[in-house]
Every structure is written in C-alpha cells, then in structure tokens.
C-alpha cells in the first residue's frame, strides 16, 4: 500500500471538528446506524424475542411472520434473535483485532518514525513481510495449533493488519518530526517523551481513528469468513455461522442468506462511511490536496477527459466582451479598463481570474489586467509574490486549474481570439504560437520519460515533423541552448540533469515549435545565482533571434533593467503602472512602483539596459 500523504494538523480545534462532522449528513447516519447495531448486540439478552439457540423442529424454515419477524432457519431457530446475538461475536472480534493492531502497530511506528535507524529498517521489513501473507492461510495454520477461538484468530489477524497502522504512525511521526514546532519544543527544553505525547499523539489520533474503522470492518468480514468455513463455535450465534447454515439450505430457502449478509454489509459500510466522515472533518484542516481527494469535491483534472467537448471551465467567456459568471461589477475597478494597440501581437484587456473556494466564497486573484506585447518586444511583468503575475500568465495560456474562472474583454494573439476556445482549439495555439517557460525546472519535466521523448513529441504534434526530423531538430535546439552533449541528454531522464540544464531543456522545448509569444514565469528564480545570468542571456538571445514577443514574469527589477523593453507593475491583481522601462526607472508614477524600486535597487543600481550585466541580484 502506498503511504497516504498526511499533513499534520494544526493544534486541535475539537469543537470546530465536531461542527464540521455534524454538518455531514452521511456521517451522522452512519454513526447512528453503528450506534444502533452496537446497542442491539449488547442488549440482545434483554430484548431478543427468543433464545438464539432454541431449536423448534416444528417451525423450521418459516417465512417472516408476526412471531418471527425474519423467519426461522433450518433448525427452527429465530433469525432475528440470532442476528442480534450474532453482533456480539462481530463486536468482540473487531475489538480484539483493533486492540492487537494498535498495540503492535502504533508503538513500533512511533519508535521507527521518531528514532529511525536500524529499528526502522527491521520493522519496515517485517511490515512488508506481514503484508505479503495471505491471511486465511495463516489463520488456518494458527487454527491448526491453537484452535479456532476468537482470541487466537483475531489476535493473529490484528498482527497481520498492524503494518497498516505501523506505516501510518511512522509517516505521521516523520512528518511531525520535520515540523518546526517540534524543534521549537526541543529548544524550549521539553523532554523527548513530552514531545511525543504533546505533539505526535495529538496529531495521529484522527487518522488512526479512520484506519481503525477499516480494520474493524475487515475484522467483521474475515471473522464471518472463518465461521462460514466452519471454524467457529457452533453453539455461539454469529453472522458468519448463520451464512454457513443458510448456505446448506440454499435451494430450499435462499432468502436466509440475506439477513446475515446485510448485517455484515451494513455494519462494515457504516464503519467505512463513518471513517470517511471523520477523515473529512479532520481533513478540512489539512493540506488542500488531501482534502480535495477525500471529499471528492469537484476537482476536474486540469486537462479535460479525452473527447470532452468544448466549454471547459477554464476557458473564458463564450462571447467576447461578456464577462463570465461571478465577475464583479465593472464600476469598482481601481484601474481603467484600458485599450491595447490594435497591431500588438498579444492583446489582453480586463483579464480577471477568480478562484472559487469549497465553501462557496470566491477569491479574485487578477482583477482586470490589461496589457499588450508587440512582436520582438519584451514586457516585464513585475510585482511581489501573490500579486497575480503567474495567474495572469496562466490565464493567457489557458492553463488555469479548473477551480479558477477566467473572464476578459479581449485576449488575442496575432489577431485571433483565445477566448471561448475549446481545449482542442487551444492546442493549436499552445506550443506552436505561444509557449511557456516555467519557474521550477525539475518539477516541470515528466520524471518517467526521457528528455528526448519530451522534446520530440510536441514537435511531431505541432509541426507534423517525422520522428527523424524532430530528433535532428531537438539535437540542434539542445545545442543552441548550450547543452554540452545533446545526444546523451536526449537519452537522459530528468533526475539525471542539474537544475540549470533542466531549465535549458525547458527553454529548448518552449521554442521548439517557433512560437510568436514566449511567456517565462520567473525562469531564473529556482536556479543557482551563477546560472541565472546565463539563462537570462539565453532567453534574450533567443527572443531577438526569433523576433518573439516575450512576457517575463519576475519580481526582480535587475532582470527588468537588463532585458525588458516595457514594464507592467502588478499589485494585488491589478496592473498599477505600465510604461517603457527607462521611463519607469527614471520617473516611477505609482507609489507601489517606487516602493518596489527602492527595495530592489538598494543593492544593485541599474546600469544601461544595453550593457551586459552578469551578476543578478537576489
């Protein structure tokens, strides 16, 4: 089983959790059903209508009636009473199994995760071994020596299930150990034990409850399986035993199979649903990805399914000029809905990007951006992180995640509108006419494919090149971007490259299909300082060589001074100033621009933008 990523929760807020849980109707139903089953089993001696083992030979295989609500079995025993009593066996079985699994899995997981070293290796090996064992066969071995009592079988099963809890505990502990607040606690002088108790145990409680609900369900299923095979105490009513005897009369009274099967199914289902509901109410405090998964909330895959029609969520307005749903009213804008020159390569007018939260709130990250880029021109898009620069870029490229809504009065590339296009139509633009250079090179290359295949495929699709043509071209491109050994690099996997090399590969990929517009999203931020200047130079050279329009997203005015022709300054989703670079440096109009300039230029005064600057600050 893969380790489920578990982000440690912030210090608990039990009341909020309880509230969230109460808001989940399915969880409430499951909890109630479960409570009812437990109550009915525990109280079976008091209100079961008959002795579950009372054999009445005159009343065998009776259909349901007022005296026997669920009928009688082949020995004339009352089915309802046996179901009620049978729950006790399942409850005991589950309790023994859970207690064992916790007693074995949690402490070992704590030790392995916290102190690691040799113990971790050994324990992980044993846990893998236990997970490779077919449980029924091991149970048969145990039964051969120790008999088929509940204790030996369920303890064995608990041990076999303990790797699950071991792995969970171990991964939670490792996560928590890496959290800063543990370090803080160490500094403040708490002992190791206190640290374990104060932090790790409180964090693990939630996920542990969730797993236990599954383990309990498994106990009920396997225990009834054993009873069905005849490993059980025939004098003790159990759901599995009932199935076994119902199976004997399958031709005469097949309906007898129904009640015990439902009892098992409903119990396990309630447990699983309850577990999921607990996970949801706890998960809301966790990493958003984990939460999205567990709740199954609408998270469409960035790319729509193959064959999905047009009208994909991320592509703006059906008709130009009509803002899409949820767009705030026009009048509240802090900047003008500006105009862009008709001859510009890229024209973006009043671009808005809004994210819908899961609680229905919407969060506008870009609020009416207007910008343009001419052929052969470099536009710097500057602002602090979170100001909406990247979102603007993704909006233009049509690569926003599905939870984002985009609208704009105009987005055109070379006179053709990008708005209201289907994914299939946008494909024509992406790569071939507009391309993207990402920020973090390593995470932007598919780890499972060679560099060569990642370069060749787009050229074959966009340019219709043959494999041989595309390969030659890829070699030339890698050579052009300064990769020393293109042939070797083509056969390499991303993890074999350095960050600088990977970024060169990505730049080669971006320009491989001769785009007119290149959008580079902080292309040097993730690189070593020594490599940054080289990569910037490469971008500028390529841009001039190919007369591309380029948007360079950056927070660095040094970079802007070096290669940009014009600058757009972005603050809180709004472009506050947009002017030729020398003008802006000489006379910044907006207070925010002045502030940004002041903070950047303190340690790096701008030189002539035509001079080659090798060092790049920050």
């Amino acid at each position: 089983m893969t380790d489920i990523p578990i982000a440690p929760a912030a210090p608990a807020a039990p009341l909020r959790r309880l509230g969230r849980f109460a808001a989940n109707p399915l969880g409430i139903v499951a909890a109630s059903v479960l409570a009812l089953i437990v109550l009915a089993s525990v109280c079976a001696p008091f209100f079961a209508p008959y002795d579950p083992n009372l054999i009445v030979l005159a009343e065998t295989l009776q259909p349901p009636s007022a005296t026997h609500p669920l009928g009688t079995d082949a020995s004339g025993r009352d089915v309802l009473s046996r179901i009620l009593w049978g729950g006790q066996v399942s409850l005991k079985a589950g309790s023994i199994m859970i207690a064992t699994a916790i007693a074995v899995g949690v402490p070992t997981g704590l030790i392995a995760g916290y102190f690691a070293r040799t113990f971790d290796g050994v324990a992980s090996w044993v846990s893998n071994l236990l997970m490779s064992l077919p449980e029924i066969l091991i149970l048969i071995v145990v039964i051969t020596s120790l008999g088929s009592g509940l204790a030996p079988t369920m303890i064995t099963l608990g041990i076999l299930a303990s790797p699950d809890l071991f792995r969970l505990t171990r991964s939670v502990v490792i996560n928590v150990r890496e959290e800063l607040y543990i370090d803080a606690a160490k500094v403040s002088g708490l002992s190791d034990t206190r640290i374990i108790f104060r932090h790790i145990v409180s964090v693990i409680l939630g996920p542990l409850l969730v797993r236990c609900s599954f383990v309990f369900g498994l106990a009920i299923i396997v225990q009834s399986g054993l009873e069905f095979l005849g490993f059980g105490d025939p004098t003790r009513p159990s759901w599995g035993g009932m199935l076994s005897s119902a199976f004997q009369t399958i031709y005469r009274a097949p309906e007898l199979v129904f009640a015990p099967g439902m009892a098992i199914g409903v119990s396990v289902m309630s447990l699983v649903i309850l577990g999921a509901a607990i996970a949801d109410s706890l998960g809301a405090e966790r990493a958003p990805t984990a939460r999205r998964r567990s709740t199954g909330t609408r998270r469409s895959t960035g790319t729509p399914a193959p064959g999905a029609g047009p009208g994909t969520p991320q592509e703006g307005t059906p008709q130009e000029g009509t803002p899409q749903e949820g767009t705030p009213q026009e009048g509240t804008l802090t900047t003008d809905v500006g105009q862009t020159p008709a001859d510009a390569l890229l024209r973006v007018e009043n671009l808005r990007v809004t994210y819908r939260g899961e609680d229905g709130t919407s969060n506008a990250v870009v609020e009416g951006a207007t910008l343009h880029v001419h052929r052969g021109e470099v536009l710097g898009l500057v602002g602090e992180s979170g100001s909406g620069k990247s979102q603007t870029s993704f909006g233009i490229l049509g690569l926003l995640p599905p939870e984002a809504t985009l609208s704009a009065a105009r987005i055109t590339l070379g006179g053709e509108s990008l708005l209201g296009r289907s994914e299939r139509e946008l494909q024509r633009f992406r790569g071939g006419r507009m391309a993207y250079v990402p920020q973090e090179p390593m995470s932007n290359l598919d780890p499972s494919f060679t560099i060569g295949s990642q370069l060749i495929k787009p050229m074959r699709h966009q340019l219709g090149a043959s494999r041989a043509e595309a390969t030659t071209r890829a070699h030339e491109l890698l050579d052009r971007v300064g990769i020393p050994d293109p042939v070797l690099t083509m056969a390499s996997y991303p993890h074999q490259l350095s960050g600088g090399m990977a970024q060169r590969v990505l730049i080669a990929g971006a320009v491989s299909c001769d785009p007119e517009l290149l959008i580079a999203d902080e292309p040097t931020t993730a690189l070593d300082v020594t490599v940054q200047a080289e990569v910037l130079n490469l971008l500028r050279e390529l841009q001039r060589e190919r007369n591309m329009g380029m948007i360079l997203v950056t927070h660095n005015f040094g970079v802007v001074a070096d290669i940009c022709d014009r600058v757009a300054v972005m603050q809180n989703g709004v472009i506050v100033e947009q002017r030729p670079v020398l003008e802006l440096f000489a006379d910044p109009h907006h207070a925010y621009t002045r502030m940004l300039l002041a903070s950047t230029l303190e340690n790096a005064p701008p030189r002539s933008r035509h001079g080659v600057r090798r060092e790049v600050d920050s």
Partner: protein, 313 residues
C-alpha cells in the same frame, strides 16, 4: 535493471524462507500432533506413538526442519500424514483451481479497476461520486456472500452457470470458463473497487503536477497526456495495490471455493488443518508464498520499467 531484478529476487526468496521457517516451528512447537490427527480421537496412545515414530515426529524439531527443508528445495514436500500420498501430487491437482480463480480475479480487477479509476478521475461529479459509493459497497460486502448471491441468482435461478464443480481447462475450455466465471466475478468485485480507488487518487494527484501543465503548454493533445504521461506516472501505486489484491484474492479464493464446491488449495488446507496434517499445510503455505513472491517480483519489474529512478537505484 538486471541487478535490480536480482536483488528483488533474493529479497523474495528470503521472505519465503522466513515465513515457511517461522510457520514450521510455530506448528511443531505449539503442540500440533499429526499422528493424533491422522488416527483420529479414538486411537490409543500406543497407536499414536507408533504412528509418531513412523512419521519421524519423535526426532528433535530442528532435525525434522532441516530434513523437510532439504527435501523441499528438491521439490519433495513429503507425504501427507492423513492420506499417505505425496503432498506434491495433492498440490499439483488442486493448485490450478485456486490459481485460476486468483489470477482470473486479478486480471478482471485490473482491467475494470483501471478503466473505472481513470474515468472517475477525469469525470468529476456524479460519475465519480457514484463510483465512490459503489467502492464502499464493494469493500463492505464479504466476497463469499456476494458469491452465494451470484450462485443463487445466476446458477440456481437463471441456470446460466454451473452452481458447483471445476472443469479443467484442457478438458473443455468453455466449461472451464463457465465454471470459474461466478467465483472470479465475486472475487474481483472488491479488488476492482480497491484498484479503481487507488488509481483515481493517483491520477488526480499526477494531474496536479507542474509537468502536466507544462506538457499542456506544449500543445500535446489531452488524450496523449492522459494515456501516456499521466497514466504512467499514476500507475506505480496502483501496481502495489494490484499485488496486495492478488494476496487478498488467494485468501478469498480459499473461502469462495467452498461456495462453488471447488476442490482448490483452500479446501486442502482446511482438511489438513482438521487432521493436523503439517506436511500438507507446509506444502500449501510454501506454494502460496512462492506464488506471492513471484507476483511481487513481476510487479517490481513493472515498477522498475515504469520508474527510471527505481531502475537506476
């Protein structure tokens, strides 16, 4: 890659060795008495003692173990104490039944699990939600109960399939297929749910990776991105799940055999357990563990083929 496979193979053999050794000593040291088991409750102590000597049970356990192990590596698994026939003969006739069920179930589960998991991941909304519910139900209903229901509906009621019995593949391929359809379907249901769920989660996870966005920015068609890049990166965890499901299917087959009156390894083990027939139990265990090791090895090789980092390591 060769070194990678060799290492996994050694690890697998070591695992089988540890399990078999552990179980051998567990059975002998907890007072399991094959002589008594073979002769029944009414045999006298003297008779049991004679039988014990015949079976070599009066020797030290370590000697018995080395003897068993020495023969086992040559393929001689000893003689059943209850039936006086070679264990290997018993296994060779019974094993195909169980393996047919488990392998059949895993192939069916992989096929449907992958399709449903991918569909759920790329069709968020009702389809995904419906599938989640089906998955919970698939986990919650014990597969032997589903098997009984299938038997009642499709074998007893509709008479589409035989209710009991196993037909050998070589005797009649169609008969074989019909005889394993219901048990395989019952076994596969839970595994389909588990595999689909796992794949759905990992496909969704891969879709949120940066490189998928970059691939899209290069103008690759969504179908190419899904079927090559996303699926390949999403498959390792699903493969792990597949090998776990095979182990579960071996267990499940042992129970489901009973529903359809199939004489597989499960019924052998259950009878052997009743007779304290250690030799047979050890034989079943060894075969099953080796089968699990083999399947894990295949999964590891696939894993390595899919993940260049693993291969290089």
């Amino acid at each position: 890659m060769v070194r990678f496979i060799a290492r996994r193979l050694v690890a697998g053999v070591l695992l089988a060795f540890v399990v078999v050794t552990g179980m051998f000593f567990f059975l002998h040291l907890t007072g399991t008495d094959p002589a008594r088991g073979a002769l029944g409750l009414y045999a006298t102590e003297d008779q049991v003692a004679i039988k014990s000597a015949q079976l070599g049970l009066d020797r030290p356990v370590i000697e018995q173990y080395l003897d068993w192990l020495g023969h086992a590596v040559t393929g001689d698994l000893g003689t059943s104490s209850a039936q006086s026939s070679p264990v290997i003969d018993l296994l060779v006739t019974r094993l195909p039944v169980t393996v047919s069920l488990a392998l059949g179930a895993i192939i069916v589960a992989a096929t449907f699990g992958v399709v449903l998991g991918v569909l759920a991941a790329v069709n968020p909304g009702r389809f995904d939600r419906a599938l989640q519910i089906v998955m919970v139900i698939g986990f919650a209903l014990p597969n032997f109960w589903v098997a009984i229901i299938f038997a009642i509906v499709f074998a007893v009621g509709l008479r589409w399939f035989p209710a009991t019995g196993y037909v050998h593949l070589l005797d009649s391929p169609v008969g074989w297929l019909l005889s394993i359809t219901l048990p395989v379907a019952a076994l596969a249901l839970g595994s389909i749910a588990a595999i689909a769920q796992q794949l759905r989660n990992s496909v969704i996870n891969v879709y949120s990776q940066d490189y998928v966005r970059t691939l899209r920015s290069r103008g690759l068609p969504p179908r190419t991105i899904l079927l090559t890049h996303v699926l390949r990166n999403a498959s390792p965890p699903a493969l792990t799940m597949l090998s776990l499901q095979f182990i579960a299917a071996m267990s499940g087959a042992a129970i489901i055999e009973r529903v359809f009156g199939l004489q597989g390894i499960g019924s052998v083990a259950i009878n052997a357990s009743g007779n304290s027939d250690i030799q047979v139990i050890m034989g079943v265990l060894l075969f099953t563990v080796l089968l699990v090791v083999l399947v894990n090895l295949i999964v590891d090789i696939l894993y390595g083929a899919l993940n260049p980092k693993v291969r290089a390591a």
